[in-house]
């Protein structure tokens, strides 16, 4: 059984019907390579929230998954409006989602908060008008 893997997924903005496809794939892959339940779940949740953020707010983005012997690294980059106030965006419940997004079940304002909670280390950087970059690290 292989214990490591590396792969990349594209996510397109506004494709709400596709939201979660990448995360479900990631979860399946992690199961195949023997990652324990709890770690797998955290990785899937962090990936999901990142995916939904790209779909809800960006033009497009990439999710890169890298699994080594001792950790899982999820690197997410998007092109889009970026985040003007990261501290505010990290607050539980803070959301810039419009009604349309909320009516689909998104926009609870928990995205970045959830990602941070699932990570062992978490880095975020963003440039207004350019896009956002997240680096999520989860120890195995």
């Amino acid at each position: 059984m292989t214990q490591a893997c590396e792969c990349s997924f594209s996510v397109e903005g506004e494709k709400f019907a596709e939201a979660g496809k990448v995360s479900v794939e990631v979860k399946k892959m992690l199961k195949k390579i023997g990652i324990p339940d709890d770690v797998r779940r955290r990785a899937a949740i962090a990936t999901y929230e990142s995916e939904v953020n790209i779909i809800s707010y960006a033009i497009e983005g990439t999710v890169k998954l890298e699994v080594t012997r001792d950790r899982i690294l999820i690197d997410i980059r998007d092109t889009g409006p970026g985040i003007s106030n990261i501290e505010q965006a990290m607050e539980q419940g803070y959301s810039t989602a419009n009604d349309r997004i909320r009516e689909m079940g998104f926009g609870a304002g928990m995205g970045l908060f959830n990602i941070k909670n699932c990570s062992d280390t978490f880095e975020i950087s963003s440039e207004e008008g350019k896009g956002t970059h997240l680096k999520i690290l989860i120890n195995r």
């Binding site: 939201a19 979660g20 339940d37 949740i45 999901y48 689909m104 998104f106 609870a108 928990m110 959830n114």
Partner: protein
């Protein structure tokens, strides 16, 4: 309660997973906003929601919900049910509203998801 007992209590239709009705359910999480499910729902809980898009199935798969119970008499579209079959997640539908559904399950001993609290006691029920 088993899924079968839940279905009987709420007069629910079994849309997917008719062969999983003996699954034991102890906890539930009700939400229309999926991020809350990701933040708080625990593995094995039943997801109670008014949403019917395929998201609910993907979320249930990510957090390991035992089943999905759709309320307000809604029947999810084909794409949601197909995905649920693919990911092997039972889907039920009841005509009761979310409040009533939660109330009845709670009255029958189903509890909300416990929150993990840091410290010597790793899990304290609310």
């Amino acid at each position: 309660m088993t899924l079968r007992e839940i279905a009987d209590l709420l007069d629910a239709r079994i849309l997917v997973g008719g062969d999983h009705l003996d699954i034991e359910v102890k906890t539930a999480f009700s939400a229309d906003l999926m991020s809350d499910v990701l933040a708080f729902a625990k593995p094995g809980s039943i997801m109670i929601t008014g949403l019917t898009n395929p998201q609910i199935v993907r979320i249930a798969s990510i957090v390991d919900n035992s089943a999905i119970l759709v309320v307000r008499g809604k029947i999810p579209p084909e794409e949601t049910l197909t995905l649920a079959e693919e990911l092997d997640i039972p889907v039920l539908s009841t005509r009761y509203i979310l409040f009533e559904t939660s109330g009845r399950l709670y009255a029958n001993g189903i509890v909300g998801c416990v929150r993990k609290i840091e410290g010597p006691e790793s899990v304290i029920p609310l």
